[in-house]
């Protein structure tokens, strides 16, 4: 894909300013969308093959089609910028360098879903980025692209509001039902599903939740056409994607490239390889919740949902964490488990208690008091969490432990000897 030109983060100077964004064709796709019916927009997005960039790679057009076409209640869109999964740092780039692309995407999505309002949920620690997005939203209002004035600007009988909701430091709020409870201002425990948000969401009204990057792709689809989008990257999981590469690489960062690239190409070429020419021990391909891969089994693995599934992992947020041959896996696993333990909302016993037990065992191993049977114990506890909880944080806590033990048993046993 050498001829691919970045579209989400094109690097245009000052693109975050509304005038510059307009000079580069900004808000023309929103204008186009206002002249379409909601069904037409949904068909285009379905045809593009766009899948969610927030973790589950769910087909976006299909998700949108679950929303009711009429009814008494207003509909809402939540744009998920909680971005708290370790190894994920891409949405922040959109907030900083291309916020109007996201806002234009909200307008188009808003039209397709007939929403009353959209809430952009941004993690609390991103205070500086909250301010950037608030400024961009205010500028879009001032230009008449958002709110009541839309009707006049676009000559359409539709309008929606856009608000920013700032989180306050809780990873669980990235889970969609927790996010809705957070916006409602109650304790953000994840909700039991069904009912699904398209039926019973924010304030009991039909709601769609999409990731920031998913929404930013929407104007691109309208601009370049669904066929173009479908032709980029992996056939079943197409389009531009933001890879966040971190850890032991020479050039860590966020890269706007097609889906389906070889992991080895991303690590060795795009991110400049591993410092000091060291070998890779482990790669986590999609943020810390995703099953880790062995460094000596990366050949031919591509970064799209299908290829990663084949090798027993998942794309998650496409946050690639690279660990070299000297990495202490027990320490990594302990740190990851610590994360899930403190971020568990405590609502389900297997998640609350299981993360605590796993952390206890891992700490014992880290202190040099572990035995090989501890690995079996950990594996059992992880198995008991997986699939037995209200939300996917349980699986997220179980997978790194379970799959590291299955795939790196020899290495972990060697570390027990120290």
């Amino acid at each position: 894909m050498t001829d691919y030109q970045p579209v989400l983060l094109p690097g245009t100077p000052d693109l975050h300013k509304i005038d510059v964004y307009e000079q580069h064709g900004g808000y023309q796709q929103a204008r186009k969308a206002m002249g379409m019916t909601p069904e037409e927009i949904i068909e285009i997005v379905k045809g593009s093959g766009l899948r969610g960039r927030g973790g589950a790679a769910f087909p976006t057009g299909l998700k949108w089609s679950f929303m009711p076409k009429d009814g008494e209640k207003p509909s809402y869109l939540c744009v998920n910028g909680d971005e708290s999964e370790p190894g994920s740092f891409k949405d922040r780039q959109i907030f900083e360098f291309n916020p109007h692309l996201m806002i234009e995407g909200i307008l188009i999505t808003g039209r397709a879903l007939r929403i009353k309002a959209a809430y952009i949920y941004i993690r609390g620690e991103y205070e500086a980025w909250v301010q950037m997005v608030e400024k961009a939203v205010a500028d879009a209002y001032a230009k008449g692209y958002v709110g009541e004035k839309m009707k006049e600007t676009f000559g359409v009988d539709f309008s929606c509001e856009i608000y920013v909701h700032r989180g306050a430091g809780a990873y669980i709020c990235g889970e969609e039902s927790s996010l809705m409870n957070s916006i409602e201002g109650i304790r953000p425990y994840p909700r039991v599903k069904p009912p699904f948000p398209a039926q019973v969401g924010l304030w009991g009204c039909p709601t769609t939740i999409n990731n920031v990057e998913t929404i930013a792709n929407v104007p691109v689809i309208l601009d370049k056409g669904p066929d173009w989008f479908k032709s980029i990257g992996a056939e079943k999981h197409p389009g531009p994607i933001l890879y966040g590469i971190s850890g032991h690489v020479n050039k860590p960062g966020v890269y706007d490239l097609p889906t389906g690239m070889l992991l080895t190409e991303l690590i060795n070429d795009v991110a400049g390889g591993v410092p000091n020419g060291k070998k890779i021990k482990m790669v986590i391909p999609g943020g810390s919740s995703m099953p880790p891969l062995r460094g000596d089994e990366l050949e031919g693995v591509r970064m799209d949902a299908e290829s990663l599934k084949e090798v027993g992992s998942a794309i998650g947020t496409a946050g690639i964490m690279v660990m070299d041959e000297d990495t202490d896996l027990t320490r990594i696993l302990t740190r990851i488990t610590h994360f899930y333990k403190v971020e568990s909302c405590g609502q389900c016993t297997p998640c609350r208690e299981g993360t605590g037990w796993m952390l206890k065992v891992l700490n014992r191993m880290l202190e040099g008091n572990g035995t090989p049977s501890d690995l079996d114990l950990l594996h059992d506890v992880a198995n008991n969490i997986e699939g037995n909880t209200v939300c996917a944080l349980g699986d997220a806590a179980a997978w790194p432990v379970k799959f590291t033990i299955e795939r790196f048993r020899k290495e972990l046993e060697a570390e027990l000897e120290r």
Binding site: E83, S84, E85, P86, G87, S88, F89, D91, R92, R123, G124, E125, Y126, E127, A128, E161, Y163, H165, R166, G167, A168, G169, A170, Y171, S182, I183, E184, G185, I186, R187, P188, W203, G244, I245, S246, G247, H248, P252, G253, V254, I284, S288, G319, M321, M323, T327, R331, I332, R335, I336, F339, V342, E343
Partner: protein, 157 residues
């Protein structure tokens, strides 16, 4: 506890939502910024201002990491020790801070200027190691950068 102007801001916040409960988080952020913590008095005040039950406000305060019920240092050094930062030197960051101001995770200097906190991933993994100081992010940290930063903060204290 709020000025006229701040109360106006809360009014604006309320207008974003069909229910006042939704404005609790934003109002608490304003409290936290202004007083450096959320006191019992602040909880009562926010509940009255928004006309919502006090227990609801307390429930929100205790759930989230960023609302503190106790004072922290004037400068809160939040060092990310999650995986990507660990791989790129969060141990060095903590050690440099310790050598410079003598405190580690969970501690505060006697003059209450600095406190050190262990942070979860702050979304800066590509510019690791990193820490935030209050709302500012400091990335690609080296011992020199950390020492300079702390000197600059001391001068501002």
């Amino acid at each position: 506890m709020f000025s006229e102007e701040e109360i106006q801001k809360v009014e604006e916040l309320k207008s974003h939502y069909p229910s006042n409960l939704s404005a609790v988080m934003g109002t608490l952020h304003m409290m936290q910024d202004k007083y450096g913590m959320i006191s019992d008095e602040a909880i009562t005040y926010v509940a009255k201002l928004l006309d919502v039950p006090e227990e609801k406000v307390l429930g929100v305060v205790t759930f989230y990491e960023m609302y503190h019920q106790h004072k922290t240092g004037k400068f809160k050094l939040q060092v990310c020790t999650n995986v990507s930062c660990m791989l790129r030197g969060s141990d060095m960051v903590l050690q440099t801070i310790k050598d410079k101001i003598g405190i580690g995770i969970g501690e505060m200097t006697d003059d209450t200027v600095f406190s050190v906190h262990e942070a979860e991933c702050l979304g800066s993994c590509g510019t690791a190691p990193m820490m935030s100081v209050n709302k500012d992010y400091h990335e690609n940290l080296t011992p020199e950068k950390i020492n300079e930063l702390i000197d600059a903060l001391k001068a501002k204290a």
